[in-house]
Structure formats: structure tokens, C-alpha cells
């Protein structure tokens, strides 16, 4: 036996598609799956397929939702004129936990990653501009993770889009989140202070 049968290699290859899972771990997980009872395996696959199929992206803000519009966007009690721009859905959850922010969110389509060929045109800026107009946004809070914050900020300025809406206050989270830490990992108190102490940029 030079190697595992092709069917086993197929599962290992598939699991290596998942983030954070290296070859050794993919192999160990595969063997565990191959030893599962048929009903457990079927439940596993059904739950993943169901979850993937039923989860949509909110048409307004890109948040995960089972409906066209997410629960935050359809909540009439949220302040429409404050828009918090986050990098991903975890960012929404982290900020929601602080209970400080009562505005709405916008998940950008992609962070600027020049090395991966993702430029200014990929963050979905048009959708944000459209919301600014439609919802008469008065304040934009940029709550991107520190590593991407600088890039996006400079784009905001360089792009001179600010000139189009000079009346809008643009803030970013205050110092409080340790440099290099993702919002997801900041404790609630730090994040709360960062939101309250946000500064105009």
C-alpha cells in the first residue's frame, strides 16, 4: 500500500479547503468522519448544506440573515443616521455586545488587499455612498480591524470622496483596542470605551 485509497484522499483534500486546517489535521479529521455512523454523517452534511443554503446576506448591509433584510436593518428603533462600517459579521456581533451603539452597520464587501488583487473597487463603496444619500447619514464610524483601518482610511481621504459629503462626521474607534488586535478579540469594556471615545478623522 503506497497510499490511502483515492476516496480517502478526496475527503482529506476537501477538508484542506477549510481555513486553519493543515494536512495532518485534515487527515485526522477525515479518519474520524470515515468512522462515523451513517446517520451521524448524514446529519452533519444536512446541517452544513441547510445552513449554507438558508443563510443570505442582508440586501442593505451584508450582515448574515435568513431573510432578505437582517434584523438590525429592519429594526425601526435603530438610529438610521449613524452608520458603523465593519469588516465582517463578527465585527457586528462584537460591537452589539457592548450595547453602546444604537445605529446601523455596513459590512464591506472586501478589505483592500493589494497583494491579492483586491483594490478600491472591491470594498463596495458605491453601496455605502448610496446608503449615505438614502438614509441621510450624519456620522460614519469606521470600525475596521486595526490592520486594515489605515489603508481604508487613506483611501477614503485620497479618493476625495469626502469632498462630496463635507457635512458628514467620519469617526474611527478610539485608541483602546490594542494595536494589531482584531475587534473580535477585544474585551467588551475596551471596545465600549473605544466606541464612546471615537474621534473624528
Amino acid at each position: 500500500m503506497s497510499d490511502y485509497p483515492e476516496s480517502v484522499l478526496k475527503i482529506i483534500r476537501a477538508l484542506k479547503m477549510l481555513p486553519e486546517i493543515g494536512p495532518k489535521m485534515a487527515q485526522r479529521i477525515s479518519f474520524e468522519i470515515l468512522n462515523w455512523k451513517k446517520e451521524d454523517f448524514e446529519k452533519f452534511i444536512k446541517d452544513i448544506v441547510d445552513g449554507y443554503t438558508k443563510t443570505k446576506k442582508c440586501k442593505i448591509c451584508n450582515n448574515f440573515s435568513e431573510k432578505e433584510i437582517c434584523s438590525i436593518c429592519e429594526d425601526p428603533t435603530r438610529e438610521k443616521e449613524k452608520l458603523c462600517i465593519v469588516e465582517d459579521v463578527q465585527g457586528i456581533k462584537s460591537i452589539e455586545r457592548t450595547k453602546v451603539f444604537k445605529g446601523r452597520y455596513h459590512v464591506i464587501d472586501s478589505v483592500i488587499k493589494p497583494l491579492e488583487g483586491k483594490g478600491v473597487d472591491q470594498i463596495g463603496i458605491e453601496k455605502i455612498i448610496e446608503r449615505i444619500k438614502k438614509d441621510k447619514i450624519k456620522e460614519i464610524i469606521i470600525a475596521l480591524n486595526p490592520r486594515s483601518e489605515r489603508e481604508i482610511t487613506s483611501i477614503y481621504i485620497k479618493d476625495e470622496r469626502k469632498k462630496v459629503f463635507p457635512e458628514i462626521k467620519i469617526t474611527k474607534l478610539a485608541r483602546g483596542i490594542p494595536l494589531g488586535t482584531e475587534i473580535e478579540y477585544a474585551d467588551e469594556l475596551t471596545l465600549k470605551e473605544a466606541i464612546e471615545g471615537r474621534k473624528e478623522i
Copy 2:
């Protein structure tokens, strides 16, 4: 938003079924999957389902195989009278890599785990006894991982099954594999020496 939509929680719960994946990691992997393009997701699911469905356990030795009988069991050049008992399929691969052993294998059904209610009756000893008779086995090499070796050995002796076949030499891998190390992680040279220096027990 108190939490993620049910569909997202469903994927997270499913991923937590996998070994070595904790709640935080299950969440991060879920988000990555939810951002996959439809064709990538479909390929992922298809490969896992295909792999699970096509992988059988060899009717003779429990090795993974796409056919009823695995490539080692159906290879006429392998010495039929030497049987190496391993804990899992990785054990076969590790020993095959040393190119020292030319006999055949038997993957036990389960290691004895009294705390999990897995007793002597779960290792599949009847199937091994049957092979001993049928293949006229002359030597059994016990190559279980060190942590389970002692238990199984004592069972072999206590169970007095040895009395049934007093003519069979039973060996275990020689010292060489560091205590507490799984066979899978032993380097090839150490494992090779452990096989060559096997001792009768």
C-alpha cells in the same frame, strides 16, 4: 441582534462535531464557508460525500479500501503467516513506510476504553482468532500505540486465549518508540528498529 441567525448557528454546531475543532474555530470556519462561492461549496460537499460513500472497510482487515478487499490483503506476495495488529489505519501507513514488514495487518475494531464502556468484547477478537485459524498465522506483532498496548496485552494474557494457540509467537514492537508517543508520530528509522527488534511477550 442578540445572536447569529439559526442557519448560521446550524453550521457552527455541525462543525463542532469534528474532532479538535472548538467553538471559536467552528465559528471562524463557518464564516469562511458562508462566504464561499456556490460552486466551491458544492465541490466541497460533493467530495466529502463521495469520499465517505466510496470508502469501505476491508472485509478481512478493516483497512480503508474502495473495494471489498484492500490492496494489502489481496497482494499475494505478502507473507500470510505474519499478522500485525494495529489500532487504526494510520498505524498501517506508518509501518508500511518503514518497508520492513512484509506480512499483513489487522485493524482492531476498538481500543479497550473502560471509561467509554468499550470492553474486551469490542476489539473484535473473534475476527482475529478466525484469521489465525484460517491463515495459519505463525506470528502476531502487536503494534498498538503505547498507551493502549499494556491494556490489550494484559487482556491477551488474562483472557487465556494464548492457551488456545500456544504455538504462536506473539511479539510487540521493541523499545524504540518513545513512551507515550503514537506510532503515527514516530520517525521511520525508530519505527523500523522497533519492528526489527520486536520481542516475544
